[in-house]
């Protein structure tokens, strides 16, 4: 078993109090598995990704454990985590396209990064990885601004996986790209998994259709908790959680016309995580909610590999 997250709790310290961005999340990712992580803005996707790599100054590990390949990750200990970052777990962050150092040519940047980790740059390997994502070796002699968004995104992907990490976390790496580039990047991710450059992957996005195309399993989060997790096809074709059902219905398919069927969004917005209400977090917006939902629903396995947190399933 590659990644095991158990009852993970992470919060942000703010002037107004503690934002409980992850409030008891448990799941596993197997060797070779791509886990798609979906959910509305603010539900905790990025927080989860960051927790597996680096907690920033205002983040606090409030409980739970993360185990990678049988070893516990010291996520609350920034220095101890250094032994794992890049080698064992690697993150391609949200907005990473603009995060490349603009004053360095790509090649030099990669060399510096590797040396800072005590590794010797392997030019041949680097070029072969670039070729696998459809980039010419000339990009090494270019500055980031000279590359398009999609090229930069692929460069970041290659860099983050150079040391063949066990787990790659990709946070919204395709959201700003047009469909053709998005498809190329998504296929490159699959290729890296198939070639074993990364063992498993957590692919974060709010684009459910794209996740469905590349993930083996999809996990939907709501307000800091797991709502539903199932094999990708099951989640998309037979969602059980009321939130997942609404989410799937909120998606237009190509060719769908407003005149034909008016899509419905999900009325209301997620609860504040500063002082979240007790019980099911989706209660305020759930069409099925009743008094019983004032108590927090447990995550139950309704079919092999299909987990749902709702009293009504």
């Amino acid at each position: 078993m590659s990644l095991t997250v158990t009852d993970l709790r992470v919060s942000y310290q703010t002037l107004r109090g503690e934002v409980r961005a992850l409030d008891g999340v448990s799941f596993t990712v197997a060797d070779g598995e791509i886990l798609g992580l979906a959910g509305e803005s603010g539900c905790g996707k990025t927080t989860l990704g960051k927790s597996l790599i680096r907690l920033d100054g205002r983040m606090r590990h409030a409980g739970g454990t993360v185990e990678l390949d049988g070893r516990e990750l010291p996520i609350a200990d920034d220095r101890a985590m250094n032994a794992f970052r890049f080698r064992e777990v690697s993150l391609v962050p949200q907005y990473s396209m603009s995060a490349l150092n603009p004053t360095r040519k790509i090649g030099r940047m990669v060399a510096e990064l590797l040396r800072s980790r005590g590794e010797t740059p392997d030019r041949a390997k680097l070029e072969s990885r670039l070729a696998q994502v459809g980039l010419p070796r000339e990009v090494l002699d270019r500055y980031p601004i000279e590359l398009s968004g999609g090229m930069r995104q692929r460069v970041v992907m290659v860099i983050s996986t150079l040391l063949d990490p066990s787990l790659l976390i990709a946070d919204e790496i395709t959201s700003a790209l047009d469909v053709s580039t998005q498809q190329a990047v998504a296929r490159a991710l699959l290729g890296f998994r198939d070639a074993g450059h990364v063992t498993s992957m957590v692919f974060i996005t709010h684009d459910l259709a794209l996740t469905a195309r590349i993930a083996d399993t999809i996990m939907v989060m709501y307000a800091g908790r797991l709502a539903e997790k199932a094999p990708a096809e099951v989640l998309v074709e037979q969602p059980r959680h009321p939130y997942t059902r609404l989410l799937v219905n909120a998606l237009p398919e190509v060719g769908a016309r407003h005149a034909g069927r008016r899509l419905t969004g999900i009325a209301g917005s997620p609860p504040s995580l500063l002082d979240p209400p007790p019980g099911c977090r989706f209660r305020e917006r759930c069409p099925l909610a009743d008094d019983g939902c004032a108590e927090q629903p447990p995550v139950t396995e309704v079919a092999p590999g299909h987990h749902v947190a709702c009293w009504k399933v």
Partner: protein, 301 residues
């Protein structure tokens, strides 16, 4: 019913001067023609760098055309107070439209000062609340807050609400939903559909094809600054004629089906029908450019 062109582009070209001393020219938009009627949404799709935003900026008078002409309600683009009373743009990155040191609802205040100085304060406040409700926001939740306290989707919808406070006839919406999650996106799209029903003309710029089809009567496909196909949305998406349109459609991830290869285009309609002037009319209103097949002998300039 009288349907008149609200927006008309006729052979519009834009070249940017780049490089040291503007020595090199980049043609970002190349002889583009299409129109948008009142009460109609036209979507402009194409990959990044294809010239979509440049077209939007020219319509809004933020950058001049190099050639051809743009008219709005029959009159040329004339940036200024009167023009912006009826023509507005909403852009991809809502954060850039707000000044972080001021509360977000200052955007409404500026509209009042510029366009409605005579309206009494309490009446204005009521109008603002109504516009905010129109974009499905709760006034109590968003008014009086600073930009960083609101989400991208909330800020985006406030910009639309701001546009609603004017006597708007044409809205240029440039990638306004790419920052939003699926549920908020649907709200914004439904809102545009309602505005359209009230007679607003909308140019909906996007690289998300599914969103484009959902709203638009007609679709214009842009490729490297030129129109390769345009026509009724059902036809452009249901029976795409140009290889580029087919490639774009094939790349869209679908929820319920895997990616498929784009069906090949075997013969060039443009050259087969011997049309001249850039586009051939395949069926009424459905235009397509030269397919640029590998053995193309014709003049495709």
């Amino acid at each position: 019913m009288l349907t008149s062109d609200m927006l008309k582009l006729d052979n519009v070209t834009k070249t940017y001067r780049v490089g040291a001393l503007g020595g090199k020219a980049v043609t970002a938009v190349d002889r583009v023609s299409f129109d948008v009627r009142a009460g109609e949404v036209v979507s402009l799709i194409g990959e990044s760098g294809s010239g979509k935003s440049t077209i939007g900026r020219m319509i809004l008078g933020l950058t001049p055309v190099t050639g051809g002409s743009i008219t709005v309600a029959g009159a040329p683009v004339r940036p200024g107070r009167d023009y912006y009373r009826s023509v507005q743009g909403v852009f991809q990155d809502p954060f850039s439209c707000y000044n972080p040191v001021f509360k977000a609802d200052r955007v409404f205040r500026l509209i009042k000062e510029t366009y409605h100085p005579g309206v009494p304060e309490d009446e204005w406040a009521a109008r603002v609340r109504a516009a905010v409700r129109d974009v499905r926001l709760n006034p109590g939740e968003v008014l009086g807050k600073y930009p960083h306290q609101l989400s991208g989707g909330q800020l985006q919808r406030m910009l639309i609400a701001r546009a609603l406070l004017l006597d708007l006839k044409l809205l240029v919406a440039d990638e306004i939903t790419s920052m939003l999650d699926a549920s908020t996106r649907v709200d914004v799209l439904n809102l545009l559909a309602d505005l359209k029903a009230r007679g607003l003309a909308v140019l909906y710029v996007t690289h998300d094809l599914a969103l484009g089809t959902y709203l638009a009567e007609r679709t214009v496909v842009l490729w490297r600054g030129t129109v390769v196909e345009r026509g009724p949305t059902e036809q452009v998406f249901g029976d795409p004629l140009h290889p580029y349109t087919r490639r774009l459609l094939a790349a869209v991830p679908r929820l319920h089906a895997p990616w498929e290869d784009a069906p090949e285009v075997r013969s060039c309609l443009y050259h087969d029908t011997g049309a001249v002037g850039g586009l051939a009319e395949a069926t009424p209103g459905h235009f397509v450019a030269c397919a640029r097949l590998s053995d193309c002998q014709g003049d495709v300039s």
